[in-house]
Amino acid sequence: MNFLTDSLRSALLLVLSRDPEMLEIVGLSLKVSCLSTLLAALAGVPLGFFIAFTEFRGRRLAITLLNTLLALPTVVIGLLVYGFLSRHGLLGSLDLLYTWKAMVIGQVILIVPVVTALTIAAISRIDDRYRKTAMTLGAGRLRTGLVIFREARFGIVAAVIAAFGRVISEVGISMMLGGNIRGFTRTMTTAMALEYDKGSFTLAVALGIVLMTISLVMNVLLNFFQGRARM
């Protein structure tokens, strides 16, 4: 596979050159993805707990809707957020369109359902006795939630990792809301899409390899910290 070795070597060159533009792109990708994941986790995990542990009419419906939202296409999210942020939109005055903040908004919408649905799945199999034991020992909702969180942490972390993978590899929303403006809102994936459109497949895959490497590093770090925390 000539193509692959070409790409690998290009990737190496890219990394070794430490091209400032490249570094900027990587930095922005990480910033946007990490922030989106963080915000989505902060919203989605508690939401998942709420749905899993609160008895309310239409709970099953809520879960079904959530599962449906997993299929929300990036184009739709992009257009909806665009509708709000555009000059003619409700929030047009904030001048957020084509900034990294717009990307974060779109991406959070993209992955909150992912985090929530998978959090629900993760805690659904935690023995109910953990909840009861925490409660009988005097824990309020928050503490009880933390207990369940600890027991379900592997599943929840998996949900968050899946969400992170989703956003860092996501291109549609970044493209539509960020605009892929060189020097401002170009991320690894939008750069890849651009290179692809230009026909420079090698460079596109090289960027992809860089992206995977970064994702690997993130996962190794996470694994390391999880491992330490578990002890």
């Binding site: 290009s10 026909g199 420079s200 460079l203």
Partner: protein, 283 residues
Amino acid sequence: RAGGEKVLRMATTTSTQASGLLDVLLPAFTKDSGVRVKVIAKGTGAAIRDGMDGNVDVIFVHARAREEKFVRDGFGTRRYPVMHNDFVILGPASDPAGIRGLDDAAGALRRIAAKKALFVSRGDDSGTHTREQQLWKATGLPLATMRHTVVRKGGKREVESVCPAGSGAWYLSIGQGMGRTLTMADEKRAYTLSDRGTYIKYRFGRRVPVDLEVLCQGDPRLLNAYGIIPVNPEKHPGTRYDLAMQFVRWLTSERGQALIRGYRLLGRQLFYPDARNQVTGMP
């Protein structure tokens, strides 16, 4: 694939497809010849690449220099001119750089650069972007060259593109299709270079039109010629050269050309046939 059916695969640019012209041409061709056409619309670079990889039988793009190189390198048999339309320089009605009415595209760009007025560039190596770069070169302004080194077939190769030097925050290179470029230019109240077809769609074809006006047009350098090139069957034995030539002949025949001439988008003519009389006057 449906048995026995004759299917031609064609790579083209997104703008060709988005203009709606293909929706008129292809059904007519299929009716006349019994050949179905599979259209794969991509960025110009990727479309040419598809031809180089032998994934399609014919390419239909608008980047003259690269088309010729494609033929020179032996990937295509020959470039057949099909039609042209033109590029226009668009901008907000307020026209901060004062280019309204200019017919010198390079001069218009010079003024934009001088004012450091926002300019959105497609920056995607497409036909439009290629033309924009040519225009910048024609301005005589100092240019910055960006190089990427890639490894191809074991050897290193430089890929370069130009933009005005020191363009910093006013020159937005966004690496996206025409439509998105227009959308952004509208949002940012910026200038941009666009093909007329996409502009007409975005200006007159939508409930919320892009709020951009044609400020500079008519420069011969803004001419946008489309060519069609069959993929060389000697390079890629699997391709259907026969079908490709059948399509080329049809497209350059009086019937094909008449359809192109007659195509109206929102009441406006978009394309001018090129096959018989190589150059016609500007609109």
